[in-house]
């Protein structure tokens, strides 16, 4: 099953690259540098998804004390931090040629950085507490509190005047992008979602094996 998932993920990523570099046309305003979007936007989608899963798994853990829920939250937070880091790095690389700067304290960039630091703190908290049950409980509370930052990140472009553009896809109402660009983006969304599931399944299994080894 895991091999099948791994194969599907690889195929999805290959299809995403073909869609982003071959099928999707050169964007008229930004030129080819806009192709970073097929990496940047799916990365932030996976980060939202990962932290949403942390929220749900943390609530389940606090109610049922199920170790599997805690392991899922832990695995998902780690993968979420990885993809948030990628979002910030690829956004910075995209920002230099389009905005003329690697970094600015814009509302979206600042709120994403806070999100990154909060979940990095979540992982550090888990590592700092030796008592597994106590660490899981504290992490679950932080996992719920930190999730309040997700809507702040997403709507920051509406609530404050920012340099970052508003979302082109993850918004209500009709889209403004050409269909072929939306299709390329959707293929990459699917590929990155598969990659997220593959990483989380593998990481959660490792956490289960580590718990068995310690028992």
């Amino acid at each position: 099953m895991r091999r099948l998932l791994g194969g599907a993920t690889l195929l999805g990523l290959a299809a995403g690259l073909v869609m982003g570099f071959v099928v999707a046309p050169r964007e008229s305003t930004q030129g080819n540098v806009q192709r970073i979007m097929y990496l940047h936007v799916p990365s932030v989608w996976v980060a939202y998804l990962a932290f949403g899963v942390v929220l749900v798994a943390s609530i389940v853990y606090l109610i049922r004390r199920a170790e599997a829920a805690d392991q899922l939250a832990h695995a998902s937070a780690e993968v979420g931090v990885l993809f948030t880091g990628l979002t910030i790095a690829t956004g910075s690389i995209w920002g230099k040629p389009t905005w003329g700067t690697w970094w600015t304290w814009d509302a979206r960039l600042t709120s994403v950085s806070i999100l990154f630091v909060m979940y990095l703190g979540y992982l550090l908290l888990r590592g700092m507490i030796d008592d597994r049950e106590r660490g899981a409980r504290f992490a679950a509370v932080l996992g719920i509190v930190a999730a309040f930052n997700i809507p702040l990140v997403h709507f920051s472009v509406y609530w404050w005047r920012t340099l970052h553009q508003p979302p082109s896809l993850m918004k209500p109402g009709p889209g403004t992008m050409p269909g072929i660009i939306v299709a390329a983006l959707l293929v990459n969304f699917a590929a990155f979602t598969l990659l997220y599931v593959y990483f989380v399944a593998k990481r959660a299994r490792l956490l289960r094996l580590e718990a068995e080894a310690e028992a």
């Binding site: 540098v33 990496l39 690829t90 040629p97 094996l209």
Partner: protein, 67 residues
């Protein structure tokens, strides 16, 4: 606007390095833990094989103290 292919390559290259490095970490750790699990399983089997069977231990206790 110029195409800035260098930035595109940098972004995709960085993502590839990070994702492959994380996959390698998961793969290696999984192998370590699977190997350790196999060793534990083997040790448990060996120790259970070397332990006296219940019937044998009962005979030993019936024999009484060695003079």
């Amino acid at each position: 606007m110029p195409d800035n292919w260098g930035f595109v390559i940098a972004a995709y290259g960085l993502a590839a390095i990070v994702l492959i490095a994380y996959w390698r970490f998961l793969f290696r750790r999984e192998k370590e833990l699977d190997d350790a699990k196999d060793v534990r399983h083997q040790l448990r089997q060996e120790s259970s094989a070397s332990e006296p069977r219940p019937a044998q231990s009962a005979q030993t206790t019936q024999r009484g103290p060695i003079p």
